[in-house]
């Protein structure tokens, strides 16, 4: 079956077709900007988040291209050293705090979670809106730092540099503090929703895996983010009042700052990757048209990653902490790789004897597996003590985290976006160009970041404006890749935006999936479901039948007596 779009002139998204008897979707039910500003609808909030985080991604991405352009030559290329230092700092801060941490939970999770539990909204819709406002507030403060004295501390704000430099550290850290609360509120909302608003029949082990992953993520958001909050609060107090907790000149301890900071920031990377893994579970099973393999182990592994992730923060500090601490953290760090490996193997087993179509979301899912496997394996070099001494604070680390965060989370995010796009906006998109964008992104990404592993092993430190001439060749290769990656991302954006105007109208269930969000129209009405959705086994795809004309998958047994869904024991 191939999915094609027929470019027919269609009405715009927000105006219903005149004369057509149409139930209002959440996009058209209320008009005017204030109806969006004051909305309590999780779907609208999700869409607004999407716009915000994608804008942040654009800003952060432009900064990345400027950084890479500067690195074309060993000396000055297009900017001076101070500007460069501000540029990489803001690239990191914007990408981490404004884009990747909120991305999947806030933009996709907000939209999908209530639909997946068959509910009308999240547990606390007003807190959800507050979450969005806080994201905007935090973004304002962070961007204000750019307009004031900039930010040149690195996204990690290590002391005493951050307590003594002249840049707008206070504005930026205040922004991040506020963003932390946005994240906490999302976490509280999701935990409460999953605990109290599941429908009768949806026991824990009948939940879709995306929900499990959002739940595990929410646990981290609730437990870890407050520690970042207090850390930044103390940093601000240090700058404003000189309280002397982190500044050695005032009797403080700069390594204590690092412990505090990484206690949050390591679990934060699991906030980034867990929801991504949840998406991949959905995509792999959907587009292999078979039940996911190892369901229970996938659930347990999400929880294991969430909990183990709190025990390993010291692996960011092997060169600044005591030998004994280093040994303990190295040992614990290896433990986290087991559940991640379990997931990869279960996804592969799902593909085995499946019936696989390479739709756009599936292409991104497959890219994820390749790139996340590579990124995760390079983490082993960094978790092992002897090799980390050589590789710490070099380009090897930069390559590693871009592979897992960009090759991992971003790929899954885009895959999820393509997957749920028909549901969110009621449009299908051009499959060919969608797949092309995946290819362009995959090629560009590897072209950019693989050479950076070599830069690292050869000894080039990170956050370097000038570098030794022998490293130039690899830098030129990397920068070339960055522009190719940019082109791939632009194509991806173009495909999606084009679909909003010219895309074929999407049916309720274009992929033939059993999870509940597909039991309502695309896009859904304001209250999510016209008829109460049925609780079924979310991974039983056996009785779907495709209607070739509409592209919709139907369950012929729907309406007839439903056999009671058994608990998933896998």
């Amino acid at each position: 079956m191939s999915i094609t779009t027929e470019p027919r002139p269609l009405p715009s998204l927000t105006t219903p077709h005149r004369g057509e008897r149409q139930s209002q979707s959440y996009l058209t039910s209320e008009r005017g900007i204030l109806s969006w500003v004051y909305t309590l609808d999780h779907k609208r909030i999700g869409v607004m988040y999407l716009v915000g985080i994608l804008t942040s991604f654009l800003v952060g991405g432009v900064m990345a291209l400027l950084v890479r352009t500067e690195l074309l030559t060993p000396g000055r290329t297009i900017m001076d050293a101070d500007t460069y230092n501000h540029m990489f700092t803001l690239h990191g801060a914007i990408m981490t705090f404004l884009f990747i941490i909120p991305s999947i939970p806030a933009a996709l999770g907000n939209f999908v979670l209530p639909l997946m539990v068959g509910a009308k909204d999240v547990a606390f819709p007003r807190m959800n809106l507050a979450s969005l406002y806080l994201w905007i507030f935090g973004a304002v403060f962070l961007v204000a730092a750019m307009a004031l004295n900039g930010l040149d501390t690195g996204w990690t704000f290590y002391t005493p540099y951050s307590t003594t430099t002249n840049s707008s550290v206070i504005s930026a850290t205040l922004g991040v503090f506020i963003l932390g609360f946005s994240s906490i509120f999302t976490g509280i909302n999701f935990i409460a929703t999953v605990h109290t608003m599941r429908p009768k029949g949806m026991t824990w082990f009948r939940m879709p895996l995306f929900l499990w992953s959002l739940y595990a993520t929410a646990i981290i958001q609730v437990l870890a983010t407050p520690v970042l909050g207090i850390t930044l609060m103390l940093l601000i107090a240090e700058r404003v009042a000189g309280i002397g907790i982190f500044d050695p000149a005032l009797g403080g301890d700069p390594v204590l700052y690092q412990h505090f900071f990484w206690f949050y920031s390591h679990p934060a990377v699991y906030i980034m990757i867990l929801p991504a893994m949840g998406i991949i579970s959905e995509l792999i099973s959907t587009f292999s048209r078979t039940r996911i393999f190892g369901y229970r182990f996938l659930c347990y592994s999400s929880i294991a990653i969430a909990l183990l992730g709190f025990l390993v923060w010291g692996h960011h500090m092997f060169t600044s902490e005591s030998a004994m601490a280093a040994v303990i953290f190295s040992a614990l760090t290896f433990s986290v790789s087991i559940p991640s490996g379990i997931k990869i193997f279960n996804w592969l087993a799902t593909l085995y004897k499946g019936s696989i179509t390479l739709t756009t979301p599936m292409c991104f899912a497959i890219s994820f597996i390749v790139l996340f496997a590579l990124g995760g394996l390079t983490g082993l070099f960094l978790g092992a003590l002897a090799t980390d001494v050589h590789l710490h604070d070099t380009y090897f680390v930069v390559a590693h985290f871009h592979y897992v965060m960009m090759g991992g989370t971003l790929m899954a995010f885009i895959g999820g976006l393509f997957y749920w796009w028909p549901k969110m906006f009621g449009r299908m998109y051009n499959e060919f160009w969608g797949r092309m964008s995946c290819l362009g992104i995959f090629i560009g990404f590897n072209w950019t970041f693989f050479p950076q592993f070599l830069l690292g092993t050869k000894g080039m430190p990170r956050r370097y404006y000038n570098y030794q001439p022998e490293f130039q060749g690899l830098h030129v290769v990397s920068t070339t890749g960055a522009f190719i990656l940019g082109v791939g991302l632009v194509i991806c954006a173009a495909v999606l935006v084009h679909s909003l105007f010219r895309g074929r109208k999407a049916p309720a269930n274009p992929w033939g999936v059993a999870t509940m969000e597909w039991q309502t129209s695309s896009p859904p009405p304001v209250h999510n479901f016209e008829q109460s959705p049925k609780v079924t086994d979310p991974y039983d795809l056996s009785d779907f039948v495709l209607c070739e004309e509409s592209g919709n998958y139907d369950r012929p047994s729907a309406g007839k007596k439903q056999k009671k869904p058994g608990e998933i024991t896998a």
């Binding site: 190892g294 190295s330 496997a373 002897a386 001494v389 050589h390 430190p461």
Partner: protein, 323 residues
């Protein structure tokens, strides 16, 4: 030790193009761990991607044919693919741990050099009190660097030796290693420290046996062997003056030394002053006492760090900067 049996099959005793030269006693061991992890990772990566590609091709959807897999869970499979990686991870951890403990061990007899990191220069103080801006060491002898910072966190990184240690203000940290090859190697700062972080570079010069002492002897006497102005220029470059004061008139953080001596300068109080020997000496020891107008007050004091003869040499050097 534990890692040695792995040396041979992995043939990691020679350096590879993706790694720097192996120029210290631990470099070979570190590289052996690196290659152990590399082979294991490659095996898994090839296995994962290979299966992926094979399955996508082999199980590509054929119209009307549903997925054929009957089995959707297998506990023994889960256990297998948890236990085998777990064992391999223990091996990797053990290899990293053993080599790391070897790197941390401090021999009884070390040649100790004090290293001070300060934005954005390194300075090395040898046991006889001589301070240089390059790290000179004898080959085949255990060296202990005692590290401290005058301002923010820096980090000493010598890729060819596979060593790195953070330099933290308010405390001393130490780094022990032994060079096995003579020659010149890179020493980078590996903890971001501001504007010129990437310029905070030193040479590491490893002297052949017997030659190190001779070098130290000669270098320590630079105040006797060079003219005061030449010595002053050496101090200008090594002791951090060059970071903020140009000698060609160009604007930097501090006033240029070019055509400075004997002229009048304006202070931030509005008074004028003659730039004479006394004023320069005061500016070195008490920089904020009478600061120049139009410049940020960021100069650190050199009180206790420069001897009188060194200050005199610097003054002589500044006097020569006329054309």
């Amino acid at each position: 030790m534990f890692v040695l049996p792995l040396h041979l099959p992995l043939a990691a005793s020679d350096s590879r193009p993706w790694l720097p030269s192996q120029s210290s006693t631990v470099a070979g061991d570190v590289d052996a761990v690196f290659h152990l992890i590399l082979w294991i990772s490659l095996a898994f990566f090839v296995g994962i991607v290979g299966s992926l590609v094979w399955f996508v091709i082999r199980y590509r959807r054929r119209h009307g044919v549903p997925a054929k897999r009957e089995v959707h869970h297998s506990t023994w499979l889960e256990v297998t693919w948890s236990v085998i990686p777990f064992i391999l991870l223990i091996v990797i951890f053990a290899a990293g741990f053993t080599t790391f403990m070897g790197m941390a061990a401090e021999p009884d007899e070390c040649y100790e050099i004090k290293v001070v990191g300060k934005k954005w220069v390194w300075s090395y103080q040898y046991p006889n009190g001589y301070i240089d801006d390059a790290l000179h060491i004898p080959v085949d002898r255990p060296i202990k660097l005692v590290l401290s910072s005058d301002d923010v966190i820096h980090s000493v990184y010598i890729p060819a030796f596979r060593v790195k240690r953070d330099v933290i203000p308010g405390r001393y940290t130490s780094l022990v290693f032994e060079a096995t090859e003579t020659g010149t190697f890179d020493l980078f700062c590996a903890e971001y420290c501001g504007t010129k972080h990437s310029d905070m570079y030193s040479d590491v010069i490893v002297h052949p046996s017997g030659e190190f002492e001779a070098w130290l002897e000669k270098a320590s006497n630079y105040l006797e062997t060079m003219s005061p102005a030449e010595a002053g220029q050496v101090l200008y470059k090594r002791r951090g003056c060059a970071q903020c004061h140009s000698v060609d008139g160009s604007q930097m953080v501090g006033p240029s030394f070019y055509r400075l001596f004997g002229r009048e300068a304006i202070l931030d109080t509005g008074d004028t002053i003659d730039v004479d020997e006394n004023y320069i000496r005061e500016s070195i020891l008490e920089p904020q006492a009478r600061a120049r107008a139009g410049y940020r007050k960021v100069m650190p004091t050199y009180q206790g760090q420069l001897k009188d003869e060194e200050i005199a040499a610097i003054i002589e050097y500044i006097k020569t900067l006329e054309d």
